[in-house]
Symmetry: T
Subunit: 69 residues, 12 copies
């Protein structure tokens, strides 16, 4: 019986929080199959000279697995 | 005396988290009058083939009511 | 020895949550030097006639200080 | 079989937090029957010229219902 | 566009926590259409003479609505 | 060496939340010596006919003890 | 005036989470009178050879006392 | 562009929790202009001889600033 | 030196929350050795036609590892 | 059947947070038998002249009991 | 009337979490008078080559002020 | 594009909480490359005969990965 595994990632983007979320999902999807959902845990940013130079999104990804590793 | 009622909704959008919030507010505003504020409870997303196909926003809406139903 | 101080601000924007975050960071950066990071505490919005007329972001800013005031 | 429904309200008062709670309960009781309990979620206040001009109480009300609407 | 509404109920049962959850869902389903999910917020119990005489489950129900009431 | 013990009580009052806190402290003080502090965990109320007939305060009391029981 | 005391226990059972809750209530009721309610704080389990060999329930029990000990 | 700053204070009073909140707001208002809101974070009390001799309120104050210090 | 790794899974069952927990533990145990404990993070359910058709349990599993992967 | 009781203590030390935890455990162990575990709830400190003069640890102790008092 | 202000700092140390806390308190005490207490919000660390090269402590400091700035 | 993965471990030590954190980081670093940060989730301890015989630290480790497994 397949179950769902949940992992936590931090995606980042130089442009926006939403792109940071998308980058996390898309990078994971290259090697993780069957991703079903994403849950946003929090947003942070790295600031330099008064500008956010890196947008970060802590996300949890849920995906179906046949065997738990 | 009027008081404020708070309800929880989940708005969605195929495009962005922000549009999901706006959809929740605008759909509610068609039938609920006097919405004063929105509070974001959380963001989630439905993923398919490595892409977020549905952006979701759990929101709380506050609106003035004359009578509580 | 320099340490890091954390302050809480509420940025706002008529356009988007992300712009509200940026406004908080940029306004603070005019007078606060060495801002290193921003942490999003929450998003809220002011609603009028069924539209979000003010996007708000509660943020925590971390910056290095030589002396704590 | 009757079950209990829980709704969230924000009561307010120009005088005190406790009156804000009471106003929420009493206003709701005009139209909602069988309220059994109230749970205080939080207190906030609106300030003007250094005085709290509006005391607010976020409350959850529990009441028995025959049918859920 | 349909959105999702979330309501909080307290189901009860003389027999078990799980039956308390089911009672909440089934009682709501008599009048609320399109319930999609249930989220358990907490379990409590009423005790008498050293036995749990009423099992209670605080649950959140999510259901699709065409218009928000 | 004396240490501090923390216990949780629920005080009640027919009149106000503050009196509910005081009742918890004063009732405990009849048998518990050296109470140093009280921390309010939450406020709830029992409602009947649209009025709060019992104000309740969940409190934590801290007191110095020579021996832990 | 009687007040309510709240204590935390961890009940256990080789069979189920619900039995773990019941064991906590029933064991406490042998020596503690006037238990009125139980609140589930969390469920954990001890695992051996891929099976849950001990179901555990962290619970808070509320009971009326004449004197606080 | 003006933004909102949030600071945390602990107000106290020999008489009541509400007066502790008011004292925090009024003392701050002597030197801080444009306070718009107060959010109660928690209530604690100092106890001596079985009586609360100091009521304390942890509050967050929000006020508009032109420049962040 | 062996340490403990904690992973999050979502087990499911057509019958009960407890079976959902057991399924998560047993499915994981097929490939993960030395599982020592399970911690229930939350229960949710999928509802159709007024019945819970899928019981889900978010769990954290702790197991001893020689090497962290 | 023996169950586990959980109590909350605040240990203190003039030297370190870890010693504060140990003091809580060791002082309790003089009169409480069968302590199995300790869970750190939080660390605070009393400060004087710019130095921490008292390190404090809020801890929860779990111990097996035959009868609940 | 004096009230208490609470500020958040992040202290750091190359050696230990406790020293990180002390550094935050001692650095603040050079310019902030009347610090009464410290509350640990969290511990984090910066890791390089498998070693913690910077121990960090998020702390809240409480100090008495005559005027709020 | 590299992203950050976050995993949860429980380190332990017979001597101190800090050593438990270090053990978690160092054991992980033997097989996990590019660990950047550690976040302390909580401290617990195993007690025997009134002494903490095992200090435990629940930690989250963040490390850069090229591919998510």
């Amino acid at each position: 019986m397949a179950i769902v595994k949940v992992i936590e990632l931090v995606g980042s983007s130089p442009n926006s929080f939403e792109e940071a979320v998308k980058n996390a999902v898309e990078t994971a999807a290259k090697t993780v199959r069957n991703i079903k959902g994403v849950d946003i845990v929090g947003f942070t940013g790295k600031v330099k000279n008064g500008n956010i130079i890196e947008f970060r999104a802590n996300v949890k990804l849920a995906f179906e697995v046949e065997t738990v590793e």
